[in-house]
């Protein structure tokens, strides 16, 4: 390619005549817009630092030069992540932020805002600069469609377009709670709600998008948005419910997204029926659209119904599953391209799998529909896809499906998921590993036909390896899976697990810095000491009596209710053992005192377990002297009296256990 004329344009930027510079800038602009090759060429010719310089020497530069330079910078930013990195590296963001101040030429404001929007579109761009000085306030001022004082209709289009750009920038700068808070405090809500009724669809879409990200996972701001007074008589939610009926699919999608985020933030209040009757059906209907709308709709749908059984049932009643299943089976894998590095097909497939995982996560109805759609072989194939997002999403699907014992025993076995799933435990992406491990938890339970196979593949060794990984969620899921593996398992399996894991590691995990991990490790101990005296004896041998009792005593004074419950279950399982096991507990006055205390705990579940411990400790195998002594000791410590005081407990379960315990005490 002949690059002489381009080199000349770059050198003309150094001219002292503003007219020459503007001409060169326009030449560059008209060559790079839409043209990746030319963008790259000019970046190689080091044009970016020259452009940035135009903003720094304030006194020598006229606004025409700055306007054209801002447009050129913006166009570079549209060329993708590498270009944005280059722009950020040359410190272009701060001067562009200076340009959006209202005192500047409206055309400069618009051009700079456009460049900033393109820069912030890139997820890796640093958002910090926007939160210093007056930039945030300037941006919020620009949200007013009349901020640039438009006189002609042409200027009005520009002013509204600038408001749209400001809203888009805001939508891209609320990744963290702290950022949401700063933007809200600067007064974004009334300005954005006002923009919702400006009548220009692009600006309305941008405002919806910004509001959606400002209340994402944030109940406080959700409520604040819902309660914001609009300039019309309608409430913001009412306006959004109006926009969700718009002709344009993009508007419908973004309105549905905003209402979804409000719903997830528990801010939707009196309109919750509309979520089921309008938002959900709209999202399902948008699956029939094309391009980016169709691609994002399943993502929003998945988020809307996650953890919500009622909405999952409503989704089952719609025709979402066959449509989503179609995306999983029929979307052809595309090569990625410059304009769409992930590839439309990949993202759609990933989002569709996520939505299917969500629909089938809590209800058997949903799982049945997925099975009936005959896509399990495709889900299994997707577990080996080149995109890690698709692998993780497919894994999430199998996880939801594996919650049905029936499907686990039939369709999932037939599809042969054990081997591909096991491979994902060693995936290069931690996300994928974590999801795979969570799925595995359901596959290693005693009723699972795949349990043996996973152990034969080396499952125990792999899970123990993951227990020692650096990622906390991954460690948690790994210990969780091991705990499930020994649940109601044969003694040999328990021994096989502990041989690899070791009692020392389990003891360490019981004192882990993460409470969730402590809880699972205690639950593992509880499962080890379950069912057979032989198994209890193994635990005594593995840890030694004194270490075991120390662990229990230590954990009993923990503040966390889940931990207390698990320790009490450990004690209970030991108390079902032989006389030696029972007396190990009886010899620890501190442990007994804690049990006595927890019999009066406010949480009925804890009272029930504590009562079970009393029942097992006061159990007499025979009329032997040692049993008599044991019961006598409990009575002396005030257990019988405490049990008597609980005969009128609120909880039925507790009252039943109280009856049994009193009956046992009465026999001595």
């Amino acid at each position: 390619m002949n690059s002489l004329k381009h080199e000349q344009a770059v050198s003309e930027l150094d001219s002292s005549d503003p007219a020459v510079r503007v001409k060169a800038l326009r030449f560059i602009k008209n060559h790079i817009i839409g043209n990746k090759t030319k963008k790259d060429l000019y970046i190689r010719l080091h044009v970016i630092p020259k452009l940035v310089k135009f903003f720094k020497a304030k006194d020598t530069v006229d606004s025409q030069v700055q306007i054209q330079a801002a447009i050129v910078l913006g166009s570079f930013a549209y060329g993708g992540e590498e270009n944005v990195t280059e722009i950020v590296k040359h410190d272009a963001v701060k001067p562009l932020l200076e340009c959006i101040s209202l005192q500047n030429d409206p055309r400069l404001i618009e051009a700079a805002a456009r460049a900033l929007k393109a820069i912030y579109k890139c997820p890796t761009a640093d958002k910090n600069d926007i939160f210093v000085e007056n930039h945030l306030r300037d941006l919020i001022t620009l949200l007013n469609p009349d901020a640039l004082n438009p006189k002609t209709d042409r200027e009005r289009i520009a002013s509204i377009h600038t408001a749209e750009l400001a809203a888009t920038i805001i939508a891209r700068c609320c990744d963290t709670n702290e950022q949401q808070m700063q933007i809200a405090n600067a007064g974004a809500f009334p300005a954005l709600v006002n923009l919702l009724t400006c009548g220009f669809s692009k600006a309305q879409e941008a405002a919806l998008d910004a509001l959606a990200y400002l209340c994402r996972e944030n109940p406080e701001f959700g409520k604040a948005i819902v309660e914001t007074k609009s300039e019309t008589s309608d409430s913001p939610v009412k306006i959004m419910l109006n926009l969700i009926l718009d002709k344009s699919p993009t508007m419908r999608l973004i309105a549905a997204k905003c209402l979804t985020h409000l719903s997830r933030a528990k801010a939707i209040g009196e309109y919750s029926d509309d979520v089921t009757l309008i938002v959900l059906p709209t999202l399902v209907k948008l699956l029939d659209e094309k391009g980016p709308v169709r691609e994002e709709a399943p993502h929003v749908l998945a988020y809307l119904i996650r953890d919500n059984e009622e909405l999952q049932k409503a989704a089952c009643d719609s025709d979402a599953v066959p449509k989503l299943a179609d995306f999983v089976t029929h979307v052809v894998d595309q090569e990625s391209s410059y304009y769409d590095p992930v590839g439309d097909g990949d993202k759609l497939k990933e989002n569709a799998l996520m939505a299917l995982a969500a629909i089938s996560s809590l209800t058997d109805d949903g799982r049945k529909l997925v099975v009936e759609a005959k896509i399990i072989p495709h889900i299994v194939a997707a577990m080996s896809h080149r995109s890690y997002g698709i692998r993780a999403a497919a894994c999430q699907c199998t996880r939801s499906l594996s919650r049905s014992i029936n499907i686990l025993r039939t369709s999932l076995v037939d599809a042969g998921i054990a081997t591909p799933l096991f491979k994902l435990l060693s995936d290069e992406s931690t996300d994928v590993q974590t999801t795979a491990c969570a799925t595995l938890c359901n596959l290693v339970l005693d009723f699972s036909p795949m349990k043996r196979m996973i152990m034969e593949l080396g499952g125990i060794e792999k899970l123990v390896e993951l227990v020692h990984s650096l990622d906390n969620t991954l460690r948690l899921n790994a210990i969780w899976a091991l705990k499930n593996l020994v649940y109601q398992a044969e003694s040999e399996i328990k021994e096989a697990v502990m041989k690899v894991l070791t009692y020392q590691t389990m003891e360490n995990l019981i004192s882990d810095q993460e409470t969730d991990i402590q809880e699972q490790a205690l639950n593992l101990l509880r499962n080890l000491a379950c069912t057979r005296q032989h198994d209890i004896e193994e635990v005594f041998k593995g840890l030694s009596e004194s270490r075991l009792m120390n662990v229990i005593e230590n954990k009993l004074h923990w503040w966390n209710e889940e931990i207390i419950k698990q320790v009490l279950y450990v004690i209970n399982n030991i108390a079902t053992g032989n006389e030696r096991h029972k007396s190990a507990i009886m010899n620890r006055a501190n442990i007994l005192k804690y049990i006595l205390t927890y019999m009066g705990h406010t949480n009925p579940e804890i009272r029930v377990v504590a009562m079970w411990v009393v029942i097992n400790l006061s159990w007499m195998e025979d009329k032997s002297a040692s049993s008599q002594v044991r019961v006598q000791k409990l009575r002396e410590m005030g257990f019988e009296e405490k049990v008597k005081s609980m005969t009128n407990d609120d909880n039925l379960d507790v009252r039943e256990r109280v009856k049994t315990a009193l009956n046992q005490f009465s026999q001595v």
Partner: protein
């Protein structure tokens, strides 16, 4: 009991006939607000970018255009540039209007570049055409393989001296410029939050469809020629029932 006679009535080939007089009377009973009709026409002028017509019509009807005529002028200038074969000027103008449009519409940008190539070929500037195709269009094809087929079709123009026998001669037809100009016009309208299609052509399509549906049940005077809108009775059809409105 089943009344067989009744069943035959429905499938009878004898359609009910409505005479022209009856039909005209029925039509005149439908009240259509003149203002609504005017708006429909103004909408067509504004969206298609007929600035002068919009201004004249505004004076005649007393209706103000929904948007400023300046912005119609902008679009009209761009459309004219393409109609006159000056694609470069059109690109410069659209970049002045909103530089985001061509940076975010790769397909549109490709079609504009393709149009430039077509213009080079039309003017017989073969060397320029080859260089342009290599420098500008080939990289677009690499970025988006979906463009390759169209690119190859355009290059095939070079293979035939006589465009009348060329299988891709349609690319040199004025309708190709019109297609490119309309695509660009729509993209600008979308960027300005405006409707990208005028309402009138759709309503005319609906009229044709509704007449066809009704004809299954009823013999009535139809509008066959959409330009004269003359009511023609019975099954008499004029040959040219297609309208310019529809071939957009």
């Amino acid at each position: 009991m089943v009344e067989y006679k009744e069943l035959f009535v429905g499938t009878s080939s004898q359609k009910k006939v409505v005479t022209k007089d009856e039909w005209v009377k029925k039509l005149s009973n439908v009240k259509i607000d003149k203002n609504d009709l005017n708006k429909l026409i103004m909408n067509y002028f504004v969206i298609e970018g007929y600035k002068d017509a919009a201004e004249t019509f505004s004076q005649e009807s007393g209706l103000s255009p929904s948007i400023d005529v300046d912005s119609i002028q902008d679009r009209m200038n761009i459309r004219n540039a393409i109609q006159n074969g000056n694609v470069e000027e059109a690109i410069e103008r659209v970049n002045d209007l909103n530089p985001e449009i061509l940076d975010t519409n790769p397909k549109l940008y490709f079609h504009l570049q393709q149009q430039r190539l077509i213009e080079y070929i039309r003017e017989g500037k073969i060397a320029e055409a080859l260089e342009f195709a290599q420098d500008e269009l080939a990289p677009r094809g690499e970025e988006n393989p979906e463009f390759l087929e169209e690119l190859e079709r355009t290059m095939a123009l070079l293979a035939f001296d006589d465009t009348n026998v060329s299988p891709v001669g349609d690319l040199l037809h004025p309708s190709q410029r019109q297609r490119t100009a309309s695509e660009l016009n729509s993209a600008i309208l979308i960027s300005q939050s405006q409707e990208k299609d005028p309402k009138l052509p759709n309503m005319i399509k609906m009229l044709v469809w509704a007449q066809d549906e009704l004809e299954e049940e009823l013999s009535f005077p139809k509008v066959n020629n959409l330009i004269t809108a003359e009511l023609v009775e019975g099954n008499k059809t004029t040959a040219n029932s297609d309208s310019n409105f529809l071939s957009k």
